[in-house]
């Protein structure tokens, strides 16, 4: 599972669409099933072709918990969604329910 960086703001622009899209493609090349979450519809990474499951949902811990419960990912790649993605990954892994998910 990958978390995107959300809306474009000063300090966090489309460079994270670039990194997330590349990550999705690289994971697919290596044979992984990918789940991508981002609230920003104007991204290439939220295209159906980019990941196996795409969620355009608010990037909050509560919403991500729901998606994790549904999709049961084995690992979370936290370094592709800028500071937003990284902060959320830290917040999620501090929670009990995510103890079986590997953080990378």
């Amino acid at each position: 599972m990958l978390i995107g960086s959300g809306p474009i703001i000063i300090g966090q622009a489309c460079e994270f669409d670039y990194s997330g899209s590349q990550a999705c493609k690289a994971l697919r090349e290596e044979g992984f099933k990918t789940i991508l979450v981002n609230s920003n519809p104007a991204t290439i990474q939220t295209d159906p072709e980019m990941a196996d499951r795409i969620y355009i949902e608010p990037l909050t811990a509560e919403i991500l918990e729901k998606i994790i419960a549904k999709e049961k990912p084995d690992a979370l790649l936290s370094t592709m969604g800028g500071q937003t993605g990284l902060n959320l990954a830290v917040e999620l892994t501090e929670k009990e329910f995510s103890k079986n998910i590997r953080l990378s």
Binding site: P7, I8, C14, E15, Y18, F32, A42, P48, I56
Partner: protein, 940 residues
Amino acid sequence: MEKIGLKSPVSKEVYLVKEALKVAKEIGYPVIVRPAYTLGGTGGGAAFNQKELEETAYRGIKSSRIGQVLIEQSLIGWKEYELEVMRDLKDNVVVICSIENFDPMGIHTGDSITVAPAQTLTDREYQTMRDASIKIIREIGVETGGSNIQFAIHPKTGEMLVIEMNPRVSRSSALASKATGFPIAKIATKLAVGLTLDEIPNDITKKTPASFEPTIDYVVVKIPRWAFEKFPKADKLLTTQMKSVGEAMAIGRNFEEAFQKAIRSLEIGRFGLETSQKEEGCSLKEIRQVLKTPHFKRIFFIKTAFKKGMSVKEIADLTKIDPWFLEKMKNIVEMEKKIKKYSLKTFPKNLFFEAKTMGFSDKQLSNLLKEDELRVRKERKAKRINPVYKLVDTCGAEFEAQTPYFYSTYEREDEVKVGSKKKIMIIGSGPNRIGQGIEFDYCCVHAALSAKEEGYEAIMVNSNPETVSTDYEIVDKLYFEPLTFEDILNIAEKEKPKGVIIQFGGQTPINLCRDLEKNGVRILGIPTWAIDIAEDRDKFYKFAERFKILMPEHGIAHNQKQALKIAKKIGYPIIIRPSYVLGGAKMEIIYQEKDLMEKLGEAFGLWDGKPVLIDKFLDNAKETEIDAIFDGKTLLVGGVMEHIEEAGVHSGDAACVTPPYSLKNKEVAKMLEYAEKIAKQLKIIGAFNIQFAVRNGDVYILEVNPRASRTLPYLSKATGFPLAKIATKVILGRKLKEMGFKQGILKVPKFAVKEVVLPFDKLEGDIILGPEMKSTGEVMGIDEKFENAFYKAELAAGNKLPLKGNVFISIREDIDPRELANLFHSNRFKLFATRGTAGRIRAAKIPVKIVPKVSEPEKPNILDYISEKKIDLIINLASGKGTKTDGYRIRRAAIDYKIPYITTIPPALAAVKAISSQLKNSNLKVHPLRKSNYNKNMTK
């Protein structure tokens, strides 16, 4: 850092302003305040004394997720560097790229001009930095992946400090990827799943593994682009808080060339290191002041300083910019002096060539030689001075490169091979700015993919390193070049594409297409005469009249008297704007004659004597828009979007929903009728956008955009159909019917609400929405119910609506607050209001507590309530302009204390309905997007 023998700035983490002051006393002023866990340095800054620290520390603590700030020794004036480093599971570490900041420490790296590779380090200094970064990535424990490590070096002593480390991909890693051709994010992902650097082949050479560090035989310069013209009240000085909204990158064989290419890539009307009259008119005293305080236009003032005879040493002392960079800038100024001695006729070939190698554009030369740009071009070609294209190959030509990624320069050997396959060229959207951002990158990527699917070679031209469209894996050929007439025509002449697609890069390619066409480039899609009609309001008024398309009453004024007469005839409120200015720039809504007089004095002075357009402003109208595709026969409407805000708020700043939630079928039918008429008459092929206002059942056209609009990606996600891709296929000659589409509107399975994100937390000024766009980005909320989709969109935009608590309402006298107050009251909110608003709410027998305004003497006033977090939602409608009004201070406080706020009535009503829906059932559902299916019955 201490453990591995490295030094970092003296600093201490604090949670209270009191502690911050204590630490600063120990370190000594100035100090830097860095909030923990924020991006772009939000809320941070330098403090030169106790008073400044009190403010900055307070703001920083507020903006940090954990309420913590770092108080740090100031390194203002030190040189700043970044290294992009990667490590794998076997503990191999490689350095991908070194980046040097042209600007010294104290300016956020996102706001600095940066150069790759580092230019002014000695080999020993570089090796020390390299060793340090390898130690750091190991010590911090980044098991696999990429990191960005920032260093400061004292310009005199060479002392090195470690500033920051980001254990993730970043803006800089995207830049480094584009600068070197080494895809950091992709490799980092592969490392994360267990591969090692020696196991991953380099995409470009195919022969070398990723463990080979890239070598580059060129210079890369990145320059940020700011949007201060949209935020006149924002502080234009550069600090540790990032303020730029985009960036352009350019590649050249020397610094001068890359630097000048990067400037013209910014699309700010300067075609190299060119100064404005205003800058040239500054006195030495004024220039010294600007150079001392890092202003966003400093490079132009540096040039002026050179022209006025200031020395490299003095400029270096004032700006703390390394003399090496200043010498290079001086070279450009000296060259300019030489050029100015000639006319085009007498301009010697060797000097012409030399100027081109230093990145002088034809346009810049035309300004210096006082000649027409086309003549300069013709003369240049006659002298056989043509650009050549060099490969970005990661290996300094040591191995054969497989990936076609090019930049232009002026040398002998040309490395580009032009194939025989039919080619389509796509012009990108350049640096991000307000109004032209990621949406157009999205569209350009789709255009390229679509052209490839149709069997063409897709050629992309773009200058923005942050984008997906400049990922060389997406396209067949990538030219990393400025988006100017000269640069694009050069590529077109080299590649001879079948046609150029200009619909997807926002306004940039639209502005260039007429000149390109005049010079033999085939523009695909909409004809350029039709673009003229759509963009020139005078022509469009006539067009609308001829084809019986309803528009708000309007007129064109060439002087004040005419303007007043027109305004009187059509009645206030009116919208005025200069003719032929695009994208809502400088538009203003005027409510009374007095304001018009004031504005006109300004307008006819500022707008270069261009006529002023006056439209009737349809107040309280609903605003809607459609994105559609036309192939000459069939009209496919991607969706009808209904704005949540009423007409008058720029469409790029308004929230919107599709399908519409309150439009009548008759009104939608009228929109489609107009759209078809316009598409047919303008002979549009491909995507276009129309904005409407609906009032009392009448549908008015506000504007037509003869290109893919900002909302196309959002609609693509809402409907599940890749509209930019479909539009590209239509442009390339396919028919909608053969792709399975019927005339009509695409079905939308759920409500999709788009909400915008505004940069007011980073830029000062008022937060009222108006006809000038200010937002930087967008989010989308999807749900079966409109209310829930709206709630999700607000949540995603960082505006979490409270489900209980205290709501503060302060509304202009002419607007009735009762419906709103009643809805909040019935959802068990406690109401607070200013005296006037409260009176009107009480009249409806709704309980409300009066809160004193800021300007009233009683305490606690509304600002106290806000700062004590006693208010959970603020609804404040502007009653006056200026920074001294109560409204302004309330709205700013809402931003500073991160309290959700709403500044117009319709979104406030939508919000309370969304809250009400949440109170009934707060379980928000999440669903993956459905995949598109071309073959199903897609239109209704």
